[in-house]
Symmetry: none
Subunit: 227 residues, 2 copies
DNA sequence: TTCAATCTTTCATCAACCTTAAAGTGCTAT
DNA sequence: ATAGCACTTTAAGGTTGATGAAAGATTGAA
């Protein structure tokens, strides 16, 4: 479960990161609204905790813009004030829950569990492998560890879709040629190689640890580069 | 939007029913936990408001059992006590949100909107994307940043309505042809293209930053022009 | 070292996509 | 009725960029 934490106050941020990590969440921390929005848009987070008061862009605005772009990630808004109107604005800006500082960690964790339960059912058709997330409905490949993403062409998309769906297996040229191009004769296998080359470039571009390895005489395999 | 209200105290129940109906929700009221659970299991509700203290079975138990049976309906828990442990138990029992009595109706309504947002894509009859606002009841598209607006034809309206409702995704010609025209055969896909052209003109007319981008081999995508 | 397997780059082509114009359809006001 | 209007469909020609073929470079097994 991957959480985006947006909080500018250093002490608070450090404490929250520590707390969340201890609870086995993967946490990424952003210190201002603009970067938080950018990170959210990558679509790799299962939920987000946003502080309202932040430089660049406040939490409400981040939520509003993210929702406006179709990002459905559950958001928990965090604020110092406990005014009713703040709560209402928070929730109407697109947040799913609202918590007032100071709060007890027990309550924060309970609310996160509640949000997380829901996010499971809202995962769209995105496939994962290693540090990669492939969103077929957006034709986009993103690297979870750094948020970088690329647009894929139709062939590239179908290659990755096929390989993600057959993890650990070695795909032969023939399988790929038939599945993706509908080719029958060996003559056209070079196409597979060409597109493997294109696809590898995209993997490198997003900075993924995953690579497409050729297995001589057999075909191609998706695997994580050894450290 | 259909809400299940489970509350045993008559006066409170009556007030809530009145409030919710006024907000145009369809409300069904149950006075004890057992009937609330039975009602929830029917699966017809978009959300549920459960009082914790109820005869037969308390709210926590109703939530827990419903979740156990795979019911995913969003639940808002209502209670007189404000103990932290209560909140934690409430959320962990499967509730999505938790509100302590006494509460202000504004907050209750905001929280319900937050819960209901997932099932309904539009709140006030107008869909938004980027600097655009689409009023479906008036068949009007307006650009928020300059107030300029245009009248849309039925097809244009339905194209935008569909695309606004599936933000961030790439819509295929086929999806659009089937959804909007009821076409089955590829021959008529040119219609989609023609209407995309018309619709683009309207986007340009109102001076929006949003554009309809074709994604070769895949379909169309709504996005904001890069600065 | 050899050579077959695999990789990469390049580039003309053509399907995919765009636009415009004209004809068709159905509604409303006169 | 009929003209005018708004919207839709059909058709045809124009544009464009992903695609696949070709060719040369690189790799690794024997």
């Amino acid at each position: 479960m991957r959480i985006l934490l947006a909080e500018d106050e250093k002490r608070m941020a450090a404490a929250l990161v520590a707390l969340l990590k201890q609870e086995k969440y993967d946490v990424d921390h952003m210190a201002d609204g603009a970067s938080a929005l950018a990170a959210l848009e990558s679509g790799v987070y299962d939920m987000a905790v946003l502080d309202v008061m932040m430089p660049e862009m406040n939490g409400f605005e981040v939520a509003r813009r993210a929702r406006n772009k179709g990002i459905k990630t559950p958001i928990l808004m965090l604020t110092a004030k406990s005014q009713l109107d703040d709560k209402v604005e928070g929730l109407d800006s697109g947040a799913d829950d609202y918590l007032t500082k100071p709060f007890q960690t027990k309550e924060l964790l309970a609310r996160l569990r509640a949000l997380g339960r829901r996010s499971a059912s809202f995962q769209d058709g995105s496939l994962k492998y290693g540090d990669l997330s492939l969103d077929t409905s957006k034709a986009t490949l993103t690297c979870i560890s750094n948020g970088q993403s690329v647009r894929l062409g139709e062939k590239e998309l179908r290659i990755l879709e096929y390989m993600f769906g057959n993890k650990g297996q070695i795909m032969t040229r023939e399988q790929l040629a038939v599945k993706i191009w509908g080719f029958e004769n060996e003559a056209e296998y070079n196409n597979v190689e060409v597109y493997m080359s294109f696809t590898r470039k995209k993997l490198a571009f997003v900075g993924s640890k995953v690579e497409i390895k050729a297995v001589r005489g057999l075909g191609y395999e998706l695997r994580e580069k050894n450290v």
